[in-house]
């Protein structure tokens, strides 16, 4: 696997934690971040699936093989971001569900009002 240097800014206490954890785990800081990212993606994948237009088969990967998800995620995420999508918050999910449920109720009322 090719590795390149990436400079990122994050909180000092977390930088210290990264160094400590890498030493404790016997991993490089990069390896630790890679594993953390894969684990994060695997844990959140079901929340992303619909927004990214992925099928259940696409995301049905064991946690041991979480790295496989990264490749599938990349293209889907590029498309979604280009279309202005983002990972929905819990409040946005609630609002969307209520909106769709209300639309369905209105449609049912309208259909019932149409004479046979």
């Amino acid at each position: 696997m090719a590795r390149t240097t990436k400079s990122i800014r994050f909180a000092e206490e977390h930088q210290e934690l990264l160094k400590l954890l890498a030493a404790f785990e016997g991993l490089s800081e990069g390896e630790l971040v890679e594993r953390a990212l894969e684990s994060f993606v695997h844990g959140r994948m079901l929340a992303y699936r619909k927004t990214l237009g992925l099928s259940r088969d696409d995301v049905d990967v064991r946690i041991e093989d979480a790295g496989e998800l990264v490749a599938r995620l990349r293209d889907a995420m590029v498309r979604a971001i280009a279309e202005g999508a983002h990972a929905p918050t819990e409040d946005e999910i609630r609002a969307g569900l209520r909106e769709r449920a209300a639309a369905r109720r209105e449609q049912a009322v309208a259909e019932a009002a149409v004479p046979a």
Partner: protein, 260 residues
Amino acid sequence: MIARWLTQRCRDVDVPRAVRVRPGLARLLEEQYPRSPLTDAWAGRTRADTWTWHHGNGRGVVWRDRDRDVLWLLCFADEHDGGYDLGHALVGVDPARDRLYPKLDPTYTAVGGPTAAWEEFVDEDALEWLRFIHGAAEFFDDRQGDLSVGETLEWRAAGVIRLALEDDLMKLTIGTRLVYADEATDRDRYLKPGEIEDAFLQLVGDLDDDFWEAHVPPYAHGYVNYLFVPPRPDAGAWLDARIAEIVAAKPRRGSDPSRV
């Protein structure tokens, strides 16, 4: 009646080895089911609500009798009183000490025990997976009337399912790990994302795609929340349909442990 409940592997592999047990079973049938002609065929079938356990040369079957609302435990062993001893030893008054499943017995062997590794006996793995969903379905069906806003109902077995009512929406939380603690060897695995989603959809009755969304809160990766517009599920109808699928050897996607 017994012929309806033995799992296929028990019938094919275990019963023929217990050569002295058939008279005892016939007697039990006579007592429990007087109209039995005692010529019932030993045809094994799989059901979501049966389980076979093993204890040395003894075998047993447990199943839920929905008509009578009792749990039957059938014990049989190839030695005098062995079945009684086994039954009493397995069923504890304290649920925490209940050893029905998947506690190992002292004579456990890897080739015949119910705690065999995943994928070793695909039929039993499939039943276990279905028991997980079925238990949650019953919980969901039985208890949703007790729900009030702000309270959470929790069903905890090998896995964890929580149900909460939030105004006009409901939230179902599914733990991502199945654990069978055992004195000798724990047996556990993480559910795959597809299995988690399958469990949710089977529990709520295949909701319209527009009316549910998954959400994983930050720092809570061991659980998946499903927010949904509440349906009116019927666990009994679901079970009947699922059993029909199993008998027809058509496990749904996510119910097939060979894919795990």
